[in-house]
Assembly symmetry: D2
C-alpha cells in the first residue's frame, strides 16, 4: 500500500471486532469511513449496527444497512446449486458464496461515495480475506483493500480490549473473554471453527450447533415435502410458489426441525493449511438432494457426466474466491446451458438428520418406462442392438488383449 | 457368433432363470456345460446349486462353487473405495464392481476346462451384459460370450415356465409368477429394480428393502464406531483387525441395524436409457464416509482435488464395465499413489440412517494446529505472506478488469 | 428397421457409389428417392450430379444441389476453431465437422418432402456412419436411417460394377478398377485413406497429396500474412474483410502454395479400430496457429487453461459424431463465453510447410509491458509480493515434507 | 526470514549476476557460501566458474561443479515427454523442467555441508523463483531460501556494476552494458526474453536464435531419421542405441541443422502476468513428434484420451514449479502406467523447420490391418455390429429429441 486511503468503505457487522477496525481505520489513516452492513440472513438485528456506527462517529449518510437476501439467493446461491457444488466432497460452500456479494457492494459503495479503499475484518490465515480481495480487485483493479488483521499490532485479545476501551467502543459483557469458537452465518449456513474445535479428533460439543436441532431431538415421524424446480432453480415448496430467499428460509425451517445439514469437516484452505469446521446448512442440504433428484430424470448422461466432472473445479473456484473470474463465468455458462429442462418436482422424506429423494416427476422427464420396462416394450428397444454395441466397445479391448498376449 | 460353442462355462446361481439357461445351452448347442457359482456374499446357501446342477445333468467335476468374498472385497471393492467412487453423485456401484470378478473366474475356468465360451444370464437391456462381456473379451479376446436373453425366443414368463416344465427343471412355487421386482445382491449391496419400482415418482414400498431396517425402526440411541485405515484400506473396527470381507460384513451389520445406506435412484444406463433402482449399501456407505474422513487429515489439497476431479470418470468406467481396461488401471495407479499415507482412525456416529464422521486422527496427519490456531502460532505462519499471495493471485484479475473497462 | 422406407433423402455426390445406392434404394424398397448434393467446398462441379440424378430417374423437384459453404464455415468450422480443437493431438477434424451439416440438411429435406428416411454412403467400418446417424437421430428421433453398405450384398468391387451395369449406371473409365485409396474433401480439408495407405510404416507417396504442394516445391521465400479476429473468429486477411468461406478459401490458397497442413496420422476410430489417414488442412492449419496466437495476448490463464483442459473432450465429441448433443452445446457455451475479447491481429510467417506466429497485437490485449518489463516498472509490480505468494504455495508442500520425514 | 543464514549453497553460474549474489551473501550475512554449478547442457565451459569462485574467496571444498546431463534427461526430460507435455498448447517447458533438478542438488549439498540455506539468482517477477523455492521447500521444509533479487537494493544495472567494482568482481567487457535480452539454456532448450523482445507485435530479430539455423538456411534436401522407443523413452537413433543425454544431444544436432523447434510465444506466468519468450527446442521438438508417432500405433484410445485430457494439468504443474508435489507424482504414475507398450520405431522427415512422422512400426502395435482394411477382412469385423452400436449410442439423443419436441 503506497499511500494512505482517504475514504474507506468498511464491511461492518456492528460487532466488537469490526467496531475496533472502524476506529483503527480512523486513527491509523485519518480517513473517512463508510459502513456497509448486509442482511444476508445471518439472523441478527441490524439496526443496532446503525446506532453503533453513529456512536463511533460515522455520519448518517455514510451508514448503509441493506437487506440483500434475495440477491444473495437468486444470483449467488442458486447458480451455485445448479452445479451441485460441494467442496472436497462434502462442504456446501456457505461462507464462500457470500463473500463476493459483500465485496461487490463494498466496491459499488466506494464508487458511489468516491472512496478509494474498502476494508474487511477477515484474518490473515483464512480464506475470506482472499475471497474479499480477489472479488474487489476483479471489480475495480484500482481499489485499495485494507485488511487490518494483517496490518495492526492488536495481536491478542487483551490488546484488542485495551484498544476498544481506549476508544470508547462499547464492549458487551460476553465479548470481554475469548469466544470459544468463531462463527459465520448467512441464509445458507452457519459455520463454526477455531479454538474449542481445533482438535479434529474430538467430537464437537452439541452447544456448537446453532441452526439445527440434534437428530436425536428431531421428530420421531418423517415429514414429506415436495420441491418444484424451473430451469434448475427451486421455485415452490409443496406447490406454493416462493421467492428465492423465502424458499430457502422455508427450507431452513424444515432442515432445522429435522436436524438436517450438520457437517463436521476438515478442509484444505486456499492459503495452504488444513482447518476444521462445523457447518450447518439445513435448507441447502435439502436443496442439493432435491436438485440431484430432479436432474436424475431431466438430465441425460452426457450433460450430467460433463457437469459432474467439472463440479470439483467449479467448487474450488468458489472456495478460493474466484467468483468474479472469467473461468467461473465460463463454467457457469456451461452449467446454466444444462439446466434448460431441469424442471419438475421432487418428493423428499425428512427424518432425523436425513433428506432423501423418494419420488420425482416432470413433464421434461427423459425417463422412458417404455424402454426400461421388464415387460414387453412393444419394440421400443431391440435387445439385439446390444450385441453390436458391446462388440464394438470390446474391439479395442480385444486388440489390446491380443497384443499383450503376443508380446508377453 | 459364427460357430456353435462346444463347451460353455455358465455363471450359474442355481435359480430358475440360470437353470433354464443351462438347459437351453445344452439343447441349443449340444454343448457341455460347466457351472460357476460364486459366493460374493449375497447371503444365499450355495450348496443347493450343486445338487440342482447335478440334477440338470452337469458332471460333478464340471460344477464349481467358490467363496470369493475375500478376493471380491480386497481386489475390487477396496481399490474402488480408495477413489471414493460414486456414480452420478450417489450410487456406490455395488453391482458394477462384482461383474468383473465373475467374468474373470468364468474365463479362467474356460481355460482350465478347455471351454470355448462363457455364458451369463443378464438381459439385453441392462448394464450387466456389458460388464460381463467387456471383461471377458478383455481377458480373452478369442472367447465366445453367449447371452441367451438376447438370443432365444423365451420372451415371456409363460414361455420360460413352459420351457422349464418341458425340461424337468424344478420350479419353486414362488417362482411361477412374476417377481414384483428384480434383485441383485453381494457383500457390498443389494439392488432392486423393475416392475413394481418402475414409476420413479412413487416411493418404493418398505418391503423392497432387504438389507437394512427402516431408519424409523433403528435404535433410538446413536452408536459410535471407529474404523482404522492403512494406505487407504480399512483394516480394523474398534481396534479389532479384520480381513477385508470380515470387515465389510461387520460394517454391514452396523449399517443394517441403523438403517444406513438406502438409496432411491434414477440412473443413466450405459445402453442409453434411464432406470430406477433401490440400493442398499449399509457397510459401504459407512466405509465411504470413513474413508473421506481419514483423507481429510492425511491427503493434501493437490492430491485430493486431483482425485476428486477424476472420480466421476473412474466411476463411469466401472459402471460401464471397463474394469479391465488400461484407462481404469491408469487411474488406479494414480489413486493408489495417493493412498500411501492414508492411514489412521475415524470415529463415526451411526444413527437412524446416517453415518457421520465426528473425529479423526492419524500419525500421518497433515493437520497442523500450530498453523491454523486462532491463538498465537509462535511464528508458524506469517499473516503478511497472505498479502503477497493475494496480490499475485489478483494480478491476472486486475489486468482483465483494466482491459474490460478500457474496451467496453 | 421394421418397415421399408417409403421416401428417402439420399446424400448424393453424383459419383458411382452413391449412384449405385440410389438405384439400390429404388430396387430394394421401391421407394421414392430425393437427392441432396452439397457444395462444401470439395472442389468438384456439382451440376453433373443433377444430370446424373435425372438420368437415374429422379424427378427434378426431388433433386437438391446447394452451396452450403458459408454455413459450413460460419456455423461449424469457426465454432470448432474457437476451441483450438484437434483430435488425438494432431487431427483438425476436417471430415468430422462436415457430417452434422449434411445430416441436418438431409433431415430438413425429409421434413420438407414428407420423407420417412435418409440414406448415406458411409461404410460400416468408419466413423462417418456414426456421425451421420447420431446427427439424424438427434434432430429427428423418428427418422429412419438407411446405410446400404451395412445392408446389401454388394461386398466386392466386381459385384458393385455388375450392379451398376445391370442398372444402366454410367461408369467413368477410371472408376472400373479400385481406387488406390479413398478420398473425402471439403473446404476445410482433404483426407485420404485405405488400400495403398494401409501400411502405417510406409511413407505416403507424394501423389496422394491433392491440396498442397510439397514443402520442397514451395517458394524459397517466406510470405507474411496478417489475420484479424473478432470474438474468436477470423474476419480479415491482410486487412481485407472477408466472409467466413471466402476467408477460409483464401487461407487454403496460402496454405497450398506453401505446403502447409499435411499430416500423416494413425488415429483411433470410434468403432474401436485404428486407421491411418493422410490429411491436408492448408487453411485450417494456418487458422489454428493464428487463433492460438491471438489468444496468447487476449485470454488470461484461467480461461485458457480451462479451455485447454476441455479441448480433448470437445474434439472427441465432434470426432465421434456428437455435434448435436447437449454436452457439445454445453462445452460450446463455455468456449464461446471465453471468446468475447479474442479480437486482434496475428502476423504469421508461411514457409515450406510451416505457419508460425511472429507477432500479435490487440486493443484487447492483456499483455502488460509495464508489468513484465526488465526495466524499472514504476511500481506496477512489487517483487516482494512474490515471497508471500511462494511461501503460501509452499505451505502445503512443507507440511507434506514434514509429515513424510516424520513417519518414514 | 527471521534469522540470518549461516551457510548458504548458491546456484552459481560463474557469470556476473551470480558472482554479485555470492559477494552480497557474504557481505549481507557474513555467511559461508558453497557454490553449485551444474552442467545441464547449456553449452558453456564450467571450469572457469571454479576459478572465479576461488577468486571470490570460496574454499575449494565448497565449490561443486557437476555434469548432471544424464540425470536431467533420464529423470526429468524423459518422464515429461512421456506425457507429451506442452504448456498452453505450444511451449515444451525447457526451463521449467531444469529447475527442480537444480533445487534438489542445492538441498542435497546443503545437507552434505550442514548449510541452513540455499540461494538462487532468479528475479521476483518470473517463474523460476517459484520453481526453485517450491522444490527446495518440498525437499526440506526447514531450509531457508534466499532470493537476493527480491531483497537487495541493487535495482539498476548501474548499482550492480558499482557493487561488482566495489567488491573486486571481474566484469567482462560485454557485461557492462545491458544485454539486449535474457537467456536461459540447457540440453533441452534455449529461451530468450525481455528487453528487445518485450513487444509481442514485433518479429524477433534473427540474431536472437542461438540453437538453430534459420529454416531458410537449412538444407534444401530433407533428411530422414528413425527414433526407437522403449516403454515411452527414446533409446536409439537410426538403430544406434544411446544414453538419454547422448540421444538428446544428437537430436539437437539434427534439429539445429534443419531449423527445427523455434517458437515465438506469449505465455501466462504463474505470478499473474504475460510474458513473451523466444524458445528453441530443436531435439525436443523432434522427440515430441516422434513420441506422438509411436503412441499412435501402441496406445489405445482409452489410454490416449485419458492422457491427453490430463496433459494440460500436468504441464501446468511443471510450469508452476510443482514437480516435487504429490499430484505431479500421481499423474506421473498414471502416465508411466500407459507407457508399458509404447515401444517401436518412428520414421521422421526433417526439413526446413519441420519434423513430421512419415512412418511407424512396432511389435506392440495395436494397428490391425485385418480390421481396418477396405478389402475383404475375412470376418474380422462384422459391419452389422455398427448398427447396434450406433442405435444404442443414439438412444439417449432420441429420448432428448423426443422430450424437446414434446415440451417446446
Amino acid at each position: 500500500m503506497t499511500a494512505a486511503p482517504k475514504k474507506v468503505v468498511l464491511a461492518y457487522s456492528g460487532g466488537l471486532d469490526t467496531s475496533i477496525i472502524l476506529k483503527w481505520l480512523q486513527a491509523e489513516y485519518g480517513c473517512e469511513v463508510i459502513t456497509f452492513t448486509a442482511d444476508l440472513g445471518q439472523g441478527e438485528e441490524l439496526e443496532p449496527a446503525r446506532a453503533k456506527a453513529e456512536l463511533l462517529g460515522i455520519k448518517p449518510e455514510n451508514i448503509h444497512i441493506e437487506d440483500v437476501r434475495e440477491e444473495f439467493v437468486r444470483d449467488y446461491v442458486f447458480p451455485m446449486f445448479r452445479a451441485n457444488a460441494v467442496y472436497e466432497g462434502l462442504y456446501l460452500l456457505g461462507t464462500s458464496i457470500a463473500r463476493p456479494l459483500i465485496a461487490k457492494r463494498l466496491v459499488e459503495l466506494a464508487h458511489q461515495h468516491g472512496a478509494d479503499a474498502v476494508a474487511h475484518g477477515a484474518t490473515g490465515k483464512g480464506n475470506d480475506q482472499v475471497r474479499f480481495e480477489l472479488s474487489a480487485y476483479a471489480l475495480d483493479p484500482s481499489i485499495k483493500v485494507i485488511a487490518p488483521w494483517r496490518l495492526w499490532d492488536l495481536t491478542s485479545r487483551t490488546k484488542l480490549i485495551e484498544f476498544a476501551e481506549a476508544n470508547q467502543i462499547p464492549i458487551a459483557k460476553d465479548k470481554r473473554g475469548e469466544a470459544p469458537f468463531s462463527v459465520d452465518a448467512n441464509l445458507l449456513h452457519t459455520s463454526s471453527e477455531g479454538k474449542a474445535l481445533e482438535n479434529p479428533a474430538e467430537e464437537a460439543p452439541d452447544y456448537v450447533y446453532a441452526r439445527t436441532v440434534s437428530p436425536e431431538d428431531a421428530p420421531d415421524t418423517p415429514e414429506y415435502i415436495e420441491i418444484t424446480f424451473e430451469k434448475g432453480d427451486a421455485v415452490a415448496i409443496n406447490g406454493q410458489a416462493m421467492s428465492p430467499a423465502t424458499l430457502l428460509t422455508a427450507l431452513n425451517d424444515h432442515g432445522r426441525k429435522h436436524g438436517i445439514g450438520r457437517l463436521d469437516f476438515v478442509e484444505n484452505r486456499f492459503v495452504g493449511m488444513k482447518s476444521r469446521g462445523i457447518y450447518e446448512t439445513p435448507g441447502g442440504t435439502i436443496l442439493l438432494e432435491a436438485h440431484r433428484g430432479i436432474e436424475q430424470i431431466t438430465l441425460d448422461s452426457g450433460s450430467g457426466h460433463l457437469k459432474d466432472s467439472l463440479m470439483p473445479r467449479y467448487a474450488e473456484l468458489i472456495y478460493n474466491g474466484f467468483w468474479f473470474s472469467p473461468e467461473r463465468e465460463m463454467l457457469q455458462a456451461l452449467i446454466d446451458k444444462s439446466q434448460d429442462y431441469v424442471s419438475g418436482t421432487v418428493r423428499l422424506k425428512l427424518y432425523k438428520g436425513s433428506a432423501n429423494t423418494v419420488g420425482r416427476w416432470s413433464d421434461m422427464s427423459l425417463y422412458s418406462e417404455a424402454h426400461v420396462t421388464f415387460e414387453d416394450d412393444a419394440g421400443a428397444y431391440d435387445q439385439k442392438d446390444a450385441a453390436g454395441f458391446i462388440r464394438l466397445n470390446a474391439l479395442r479391448l480385444k486388440l489390446i488383449g491380443n497384443r499383450n498376449a503376443r508380446v508377453k
